[in-house]
């Protein structure tokens, strides 16, 4: 009988006890992996969005609590669409672009998606020049200047990046990458939503955000089909950084006192706070694993050593060295750690990938790098916790153990 079979038989001898210990470790590692995976992709999505949008401002209904920037427009509260005109016709400086949105649920082949009404720029662009003669004294905005002669065929896919589209007919829709992939929809196809037939004019490139699961249509069409009235869920403002710092948000607040105005910086701060909370939570779980898992393993190995005193004594009397006795118990702990770490990583990853998009609103992918991390933690805790009982076992006097019987 070699060391491997000795350890394996020892493990199987007390199945319930070993399963309980292994389950404790798996549970801890599962939670740790799930939290870290979701946090990672959430942070990544925020960083990507911030990088692509720059400074932005969101106008929301007062009662909406801002938990997640991506889902900021997915709520039942509304604000009047006329706010868009108020913003457009105001003398506020630093408003580079506006994107009002209204979301209503739609079902395609038993799957729910968000039909998002957006207002093309052509609907309100000219009104920016209604601000009177003072408009000529305004400083140039921060974005690219509209020189009138836009290319004849606008690439509607830029909506994913620019948040604003120039023109969109009442019967045209833009499809998010995820919707297109799942429903096998491509450009030029027809799709019936809320009783109206639409033509798919573009499939948007993947953004890694909730926009991938959206279908974009003209705001007024969505309002009519959903009978929502002349309202929107949110207005996204592409603002100039400098003007935001100089009080654009205060200006919008004064103009729209009945709405909540937040900057993406605030949103990001909220997200960062949430991520920090998740980080702390994962640290707490780490501590729990160390304490509970470690204590469980230490307890199990100690009990095991007590129960096996005679067998240990016999082995030592037959010439087994202290190091062999130590290796038996440490190997047992190592196996428990490997099972706990591996199982925890697999289950935690499955949970993160399936629950992550619902909890954080971002697509989550497995993180193979965390497997090593999970194994190191679980094996480390298991070995550390069983070191003293294993050392105590190796120090047993064979004669003394025989006398005990």
């Amino acid at each position: 009988m070699n060391l491997g079979s000795l350890v394996w038989r020892e493990l199987l001898e007390r199945k319930a006890q070993m399963l309980t210990v292994a389950f404790g470790i798996i549970l801890g590692i599962t939670t740790l992996i799930a939290i870290r995976t979701i946090s990672f992709y959430s942070e990544k999505a925020v960083a990507r969005e911030l990088d692509s949008l720059g400074a932005n401002v969101l106008v929301l209904p007062k009662s909406v609590s801002l938990q997640d920037y991506y889902a900021a427009d997915m709520h039942d509260e509304v604000i009047p669409e006329e706010y868009v005109m108020r913003l457009t016709m105001s003398d506020l400086q630093g408003v580079d672009n506006l994107s009002p949105k209204l979301c209503v649920p739609v079902t395609i082949a038993d799957r729910k998606y968000s039909l998002t009404g957006i207002l093309p720029k052509s609907e309100f662009q000219a009104k920016a020049a209604w601000a009177g003669a003072g408009i000529f004294s305004r400083p140039i905005g921060c974005g690219a200047i509209d020189m009138g002669d836009a290319p004849p065929e606008e690439d509607k896919k830029t909506l994913a990046r620019k948040r604003v589209i120039k023109d969109l007919a009442a019967d045209e829709i833009l499809i998010g990458a995820d919707v297109a992939a799942r429903q096998k929809i491509s450009e030029g196809d027809s799709l019936t939503l809320l009783g109206q037939v639409f033509t798919v004019v573009a499939v948007l490139p993947e953004t890694g955000t909730v926009d991938d699961s959206r279908i974009f249509a003209h705001l007024h069409t969505v309002q009519d089909l959903s009978k929502s009235g002349e309202v929107v869920n949110c207005i996204e403002i592409v603002g100039c950084c400098k003007e935001i710092a100089a009080g654009l948000v205060e200006g919008v607040n004064t103009l729209l006192p009945d709405a909540k105005v937040v900057t993406v910086k605030q949103v990001v701060d909220t997200q960062i706070t949430l991520n920090r909370m998740m980080e702390r939570l994962s640290q707490i779980f780490l501590a729990i694993i160390v304490l509970v898992g470690g204590a469980g393993i230490a307890n199990a190995i100690s009990a095991n050593v007590s129960e096996r005193r005679r067998e240990i004594g016999t082995l030592m009397a037959l010439g087994a060295e202290s190091w062999l006795i130590q290796r038996i118990f440490l190997s047992k702990a190592l196996l428990l750690g490997l099972i706990g770490g591996g199982g925890g990583y697999v289950i935690g990853t499955i949970l993160a990938v399936t629950l992550g998009p619902r909890l954080a609103g971002v697509p989550v992918m497995p993180m193979p790098g965390l497997a090593l991390w999970a194994l190191v933690i679980s094996v480390g805790v298991a070995l550390a916790a069983s070191f003293i009982p294993a050392w105590r076992a190796s120090q047993l006097d064979p004669v003394a153990t025989f006398r005990e019987t």
């Binding site: 005109m85 108020r86 020049a129 905005g141 690219a144 009138g148 990046r161």
Partner: protein, 284 residues
């Protein structure tokens, strides 16, 4: 001979102007009526005001309530102070017969009551959503030059404003450059030219907003982009190539004013050297 030089310059300048701009946009020039008659009461009233070269102040409202009534009283009182310079027009956006008027201005979703000041050429010179005040009513009446620019800008066109007269130097070169730009097939449909006399007192306020001195001794060409951004100011001689370069640069560049913007332009707040203004001979 030297004594006749100013008179000769005026003649040459006028001839050059007429030749350069096929249809020069000049202040108070006869223009076609921008509004159709008979399609709706509002548009008919607008057409009548334009025909008489008067401004029209349109009071758009949706429901007859206390707030609307109060604003209408303010509106009527303010229009009385403008005398025969402006006509008052009332349009109920909910009335089916006014649909053509509402569609013409796309104000069906605008905050009401809304007051628009409309120049005889059809340009909306000022909008007062919700808070029309008598004290600011006069701000809707602008100079002919400003109205011409606004009309083009609201049509999503870029505008080349040539500020010059017989006393300004490089007037010919500036006009030639502007004419060359306006004749360029890439910009012909999306650009308009407006000629202003810096010494015209009626245009003083507009010129001041463009930061052009009424006593300038050099011809000045200002490039305006929608909604009303002065993209570049060319002082003195300028070439068509320079104007084209500036327009191309502004269209493609991310930092038209040397400032970094969000999103698609300069993420991270750093402008690459190739993205900055590359037009030469541009003073801004």
């Amino acid at each position: 001979m030297l004594q006749r030089l100013p008179a000769l310059t005026v003649v040459l300048w006028t001839v050059c102007l007429a030749l350069s701009f096929g249809e020069p946009v000049r202040a108070a020039e006869a223009r076609p009526n921008p509004w159709p008659t008979g399609s709706s009461p509002g548009l008919t009233a607008l057409a009548k005001a334009a025909e008489q070269n008067r401004y029209a102040y349109v009071f758009f409202w949706k429901t007859e309530g206390e707030a609307t009534q109060r604003k209408r009283e303010v509106f009527d009182a303010a229009l009385a102070t403008l005398g025969d310079r402006a006509d008052a027009i009332s349009v109920c956006v909910a009335a089916p017969e006014e649909k053509p008027t509402v569609d013409a201005f796309k104000v069906s979703r605008a905050p009401m009551p809304l007051v628009l000041a409309i120049a005889p050429n059809g340009a909306v010179t000022k909008a007062w959503p919700l808070d029309f005040q008598a004290a600011t009513a006069g701000e809707g009446i602008v100079s002919d030059g400003a109205a011409s620019c606004m009309k083009a800008l609201q049509g999503n066109k870029i505008v080349l404003v040539s500020v010059q007269n017989s006393m300004t130097s490089h007037a010919g070169e500036a006009l030639e450059a502007a004419a060359g730009f306006l004749a360029d097939p890439r910009f012909a449909q999306a650009a308009e030219g407006v000629v202003l006399d810096p010494a015209d007192p009626a245009e003083a306020t507009f010129l001041a907003s463009l930061k052009v001195s009424p006593t300038t001794d050099k011809a000045i060409t200002v490039l305006l982009a929608p909604p009303g951004n002065p993209v570049a100011t060319f002082v003195g001689a300028v070439s068509t190539a320079t104007i084209v370069a500036k327009v191309t640069d502004a269209k493609s560049g991310c930092c038209p004013d040397g400032k970094c913007g969000p999103g698609q332009c300069c993420p991270g707040g750093k402008c690459g050297p190739t993205q900055k203004s590359s037009a030469k001979g541009v003073s801004k």
